[in-house]
Amino acid sequence: MSSITPADVKVGATGDGGAPRQPGRVSLGGISLNLRSSGIYIAFAAIIVLFSILTDGALLQPQNISNIIVQNSYVLILAIGMILIIIAGHIDLSVGSVVAVTGALAAVLMVNMGWPWPLALLVTLLAGALIGAWQGYWIAYFGIPAFIVTLAGMLLFRALTMTVLGNQGIGPFPDQVRTLANGFTDGYLGNVGLGPLGGADLFSLLIGIVAIAGMFTAQWRTRNARKGYGQAVEPMAMFVLKLVAGAAIILFLVVQLARFKNLPWVLVLLAILVLGYSLMANRTVFGRQIYAIGGNLQAAVMSGVKVKSVVFWIFVNMGVLSAIAGIIFAGRLNQAGPTAGNSFELDAIAAAFIGGAAVQGGVGRVVGAITGGLIMAVINNGMSLIGSPSERVMLVKGIVLLAAVAFDVWTKRRAGASR
């Protein structure tokens, strides 16, 4: 026999077997926290506080918040696709090159060939899907490790970019595309005064209020549905406290943005993507199957999960998201260039791992990856505000990435030791 399983601990017929210890869980004043999954949000808050102090509040100024979002939106979009791939136990090194080639395609279609921009966008997204299907085929159906396929893709699609562009930048893009990438919602309803904070865009504020109201309703309905099934729900006070905290964060963000130039379009897009993909990952059969594959591939196969098809489609999805990022990046620079998207794959992968993905797969959350990406964004932005040289920024980012994964491995080892 190859393995010997420790026998059961004897328990009495009426005993409940005792609670298995939950590693990495701390209890503070009755509030129990799972360090492994919530450590990242605590770290994010700490980093924001740190840089707010170091920059004398400049970090949270309206214009700076807007900058952080707009400058990092493409990496955050890539991180959404990347976390799904990493959860399934794969990797994608080609996203930077795919960003470049889809941006280049969009530029050729819109600028050189003069296609109407909506059609050109659609074709670009389809091209992204096709690229994803190409890589997904080799990985899922042919059985080549994703590392190799996407390493090849990184070279292939960079070469294709240069060929398409003839080694020079193509621009400028139509105004609508630039607005999507770099612009803000219009002041449709004019400004309102916010006392000492000055004037702010009413439309943005209303959107913020709608978002908060939506969050309240969704949470309330989830809570009631759970109660309807006779499940335990958290105490009312805790529930309200969480909602108020969430509302306060949204409100702060929206007010600051409304005081500057209204809502960046990419923020709206990003919010929709994060919400949609979070729901997909947690609440759909497809999303669950991604976790099952990453958690134990063999067990997933033996449970009837069509592993090949699932892996194929998450790479197609990555291709589409890369195309969106490609359009936004090119639109923001108003030019598609041969070096676009360089090293974006590394930023997206780092975001996923800082955000709590496990190296072996099976673990990770879309919101975690976004938070991981924002942590790097805030470090980048905060350090440049205080005038740190770029080598020091890189040094800090490297240490943060290593520390985040070390923490993950450490909590897992403690979990193993307690068995």
Binding site: P6, R226, R283, V285, F286, V301, M302, S303
Partner: protein, 509 residues
Amino acid sequence: MTEHILRMSGITKTFPGVKALQDVNLSVKRGEIHAICGENGAGKSTLMKVLSGVYPHGDYEGEIFFEGKRCEFGGIRDSEHAGIVIIHQELALSPQLSIAENIFLGNERAKRGFIDWNRTNYEAAELMKRVGLRENPTTTISDIGVGKQQLVEIAKALAKRVKLLILDEPTAALNDDDSAHLLDLLRGLRDEGITCVIISHKLNEVTAIADSVTIIRDGRTIETLDMATDHVTEDRIISGMVGRALDNRYPPHEPKIGEEALRIEDWTVYSPSQPDRKVVDGASLSLRRGEIVGLAGLMGAGRTELAMSLFGRTYGVHISGKVFKDGKPIEIRNVQDAINHGIAYASEDRKRYGLNLIEDIKRNISAAGLKSLAKRGWVNENEEVRVAEGFHKSMNIKAPSVNSVVGQLSGGNQQKVVLSKWIMTEPDVLILDEPTRGIDVGAKYEIYTIINRLADQGKAVLVISSELPELLGLCDRIYTLSEGRITGEVPRREATQESLMHLMTKGQE
């Protein structure tokens, strides 16, 4: 009295919660072939691991004397240095290296750190001649068959100047010609003065080749027999291997047997690694509703391979044969097909094939039947919790909540999660492969009760088990499998451990 080359006395080895060996004694005479026999899990392999230093000195109790000297091996290197070499069931060869390189792996013929290739290939050729392997020393291992690979392992042992050669199930993966050649080779080695210990399930081989045999049962030495003076027959060995009393460790059960649920005919499966070897050979069996059917067979008989090839072709190549569900022929191309046809398979290796250990109980339970909780692809999570809590209660899964991580549970409770997962798919046929492996006695009783309940609900259950008492205590009818073929079908009333063991060790005529 001949001199003993090896004496192991009072060997006791415990794993957390399990006593694998208890006061085992083994004496092997110089220059003999000594067989060790016992059921699966009796402790044979553990004993050999103690001897070869896989479990180092201090990890076990008792003493080992080799060539009269007391030995305290700290690892395989020490035991090999003393002249003890073990050849495991799964061969330890490097498939991309040449025969010669493998023979001298870790024992390289080198001059000042550089490999002397002429000497390597020359000496390899000499050793290959000794074991009767006619190949070029530079041929890569992956290009030769398993039978020849086995010979390379023996040549490798000879290169280490082996005095005591231990072979664990050496012929399990070989065809008849290769087996015969191997047995001849062992006789030749004995004549050269090399002592051999073989662990084998094939009792005809044991009676043919061994000079003495030691029988181990439940981690204890039962007896050592001298083949010549004790007139040992296969029957004699079998009665030693199984002489265990049945007791009331099994819940009483009155079967209500109904219509036939599943029938397979002439099921044949070839090994994926050796596509010319039949792992399952023309097997036919039928399962009826409300009936618990056992499948008995020794390790390597093809039990799991039969089950997995049936369950969506998850094992094997060139699978042929017919499957009938409720009398109608069906085609099962993948696991999803099997589930849709109401067939469930709980693997013998639940950690590898059954569970996502980093996920919680509810998501493990819903893993195979998730679609029944979903509408247009969206999972109803509340319904999921409700279903999981139902199983938490009805299966008596000992965990604080359905949100507990499965990796933290004990073996018995993990098995209950696996069973819940499959019951949730509402199968008509459940194939349970070693459902009580690694589970303590109390939890075993619970699992048996669950199996009886499933049968009473009109499901057909096929139980694969290495433990004959378990099959006799649980099943209404038992099939025996030997070398991939169904060798018998016995109703519970007529079955005894001895009669089953006869059928299970029945070789090819």
